[in-house]
Point group: C2
Chain length 219, copies 2
Amino acid sequence: MNEQELAALVAKIVQEQMGNTTSVASPSGDMVPVGVSNRHIHLSQEDFEVLFGKGATMTHLKDLSQPGQFACKEVMTIVGPGGAIERVRLLGPARKQTQVEVSVADCFKLGIQAPLRDSGDLAGSAPITIVGPKGTVTAPEGCIIAVKHIHMHTSDAARLGLKDKDKVNVQTCTERGLIFLEVLVRVSDKFKLEMHVDMDEANAASLKNGDMVKILGKS
Amino acid sequence: MNEQELAALVAKIVQEQMGNTTSVASPSGDMVPVGVSNRHIHLSQEDFEVLFGKGATMTHLKDLSQPGQFACKEVMTIVGPGGAIERVRLLGPARKQTQVEVSVADCFKLGIQAPLRDSGDLAGSAPITIVGPKGTVTAPEGCIIAVKHIHMHTSDAARLGLKDKDKVNVQTCTERGLIFLEVLVRVSDKFKLEMHVDMDEANAASLKNGDMVKILGKS
């Protein structure tokens, strides 16, 4: 099969897979709900106390979909050489290392070049300054653009024939239809099935919290 | 072939088509350069004169890639019920009807719900207020999010076996790989081959001006 025939076949199969792309997808075994991540901050306990005062504790605002994770009442200003973004929310609980997750659009505003990274993979990532009511933290690294990923409980992974760190192609069922390629799968007994995208990705695909997307198969 | 086999085949073919997704794509017949459209304004001559003064003429700043189109020195503030965005650039020449093109992110800031539309298809689109140095225009409609599209010269269309208003699937060759589904093709003797995406789409795919994307085939 030559390249042109392959391309035609892809188009045909994608079309068959898509059906009516503007309708809400019917739930099936390989459908995954979407969670849209706005810019946010994870803090080490040490950095939290620098920003909010010695002995301060994180204030629970609401639970997030991933078990044990929660949004806090605390917000901060993040600053780069090009500008600042105010009211960036803290997510709890405390982590070993402070991590700021932003979008490409945010990077333009901050004047930084944060790398695309998995959560926790911070070596050599962008420097960022965080300003709180009681102090300022200047992290030499810790600012990233999180790669899109699917959180998956071990039982979901078994059902779908996937394992931790697999990559899959995922199709939206929205007005702005697209296929995300090479979406990272993270599997744990502590995870709940959900695909996380950032604001740029959500906007580009017209995705909102709770929309369903479809796993097409391994990349 | 059942759905699961189809999905596996899509993944396999997409993978074969992709090759190394982080490398710059090698130019070939079905590659198209990308133009990233930031928010911008097209004005009718009448509205231009309300905003910039009776008898004013548009000031050429630089040519755009599409023949006859140019960016102007003039910038304006656009305003919705939720907020304003300053320094939005005018594109010339004058059009029959004033049209403001924004992104989903811009809509959040402006507090409006602009529809996804082809350029020129403005009936029932979002209201928007435009403030210039000499006056203000409140358009009852005219604000849209432009659907991604490919401008194509008639000779390109013939070579690619496409016609005006066809839809194609288009794959990026970037770090954030994805396939845009149902991309509108516009064909004219006045067009130069180029795919236009907005800032949200560019950010979601790590696309910059001049990056090459690949037409996979008709949707």
